[in-house]
Amino acid sequence: MNVRRYMLVVALMLLGGCAARPTLYSWGNYEDVIYASYLSKNDFPAEKQIAILEQDYQIARSQNKRMPPGWHAQLGYLYYEVGKTDQAQQELMTEKTEFPESTVFVDRLLHNLDKVGRVGGP
């Protein structure tokens, strides 16, 4: 038996453990956008965050992949921040449809949005 072939098989097995496994969701730049927004809100306003997330969404759709939990709510929150309440509402509704576990929290956000036009408000 060829020694080189053995070594190759072992090497491939070890590498296989490191190769990207298929993920449940298309993450795009979701976490990086959150990180960047906390690092420097001035360099990274809501409009810029929305543009990146919407671009990620198009890529995910073209690959027929789901957005992760919380993603639509995050986008909805950003739309609220720039005053686009219709889109904010739509994204929050999508979060609820995609993930019923979010119902209590999202209903609370929608309620606040209706009442005072503020997602985070009391």
């Binding site: 038996m1 020694v3 053995y6 070594m7 072992v10 070890l14 490191c18 993920t23 449940l24 969701y25 993450w27 730049n29 979701y30 976490e31 990086d32 956008v33 959150i34 990180y35 960047a36 927004s37 906390y38 690092l39 420097s40 360099d43 990274f44 990146i52 992760p68 939990p69 919380g70 993603w71 709510a73 995050q74 929150y77 979060e95 993930f99 576990e101 979010s102 119902t103 209590v104 929290f105 609370r108 956000l109 997602v119 985070g120 408000g121 009391p122």
Partner: protein, 217 residues
């Protein structure tokens, strides 16, 4: 010893080394977890015991992905943070002290993940630096207050060993978004999370959205 049997010996040794890494760990007792298996997890900003203020959100922004990919609904961490701040809980410490019943009423979460950032820093030693991230995690059932799972994630990376394929992939992704010098500890956080959530006998069990759901950890 001919070349072939020496190759065998090397292969066996490598396998033994790989396996031994899995054997010494004491398995976690998942009795409480299986009594109250959660569907949804509320991740609060971590208590930050490290020396880096930026660690709070540098670390928080890396937690959604591993928990969601384990099969749980993860509430949007930044929206939750903003919401709590707007509702009388301006700091992570105050969020951690809020009554569980109130958290459950406000969010509907089955469980809360309490995180404590112990280390988040880079120490410079002569020509290189060592970056360390250490985090403690507690998953608590919101209805009963039962501790469902606890773990510790520690990762260290030497600035010299920049050949980690995972870290460089992440760095590439990050640099598309951020025009600043990337934060090494933020990248090492993902390795710490892998050590926290992924290990077979001590990690977070798979949740309902995972194809591996119900498989014992």
């Amino acid at each position: 010893m001919n070349i072939s049997s020496r190759a065998y010996a090397i292969v066996v040794l490598m396998l033994a080394l790989t396996l031994s890494g899995c054997q010494t760990v004491k398995p976690y007792d998942y009795t409480n977890f299986h009594a109250h298996p959660p569907r949804s997890i509320l991740v609060l900003p971590p208590l930050n015991d490290s020396t880096a203020i930026e660690g709070t959100y540098g670390y928080l922004s890396t937690v959604s992905r591993p928990v969601a990919e384990h099969g749980y609904y993860v509430f949007p961490v930044a929206v939750v943070d903003q919401f709590m701040k707007a509702n009388g809980l301006p700091t992570a410490a105050e969020m951690h002290e809020a009554p569980l019943a109130r958290m459950a009423a406000v969010t509907g979460a089955d469980a809360v993940l309490f995180l404590e950032l112990k280390q988040y820093d880079s120490k410079f030693v002569l020509l290189s630096s060592v970056t360390t991230v250490e985090v403690l995690a507690k998953l608590v059932d919101t209805r009963t207050g039962t501790l469902l799972w606890a773990g510790r994630g520690l990762a260290q990376q030497d600035s010299g060993s920049s050949s980690n394929p995972l870290a460089s992939l992440i760095a590439a992704a990050l640099s598309q978004v951020i025009n600043k010098k990337t934060d090494r500890a933020h990248l090492v956080s993902r390795l710490a999370n892998a050590n926290l959530f992924d290990p077979d006998a001590t990690g977070l069990p798979y949740g309902p959205y995972s194809p591996k759901y119900d498989r014992l950890p």
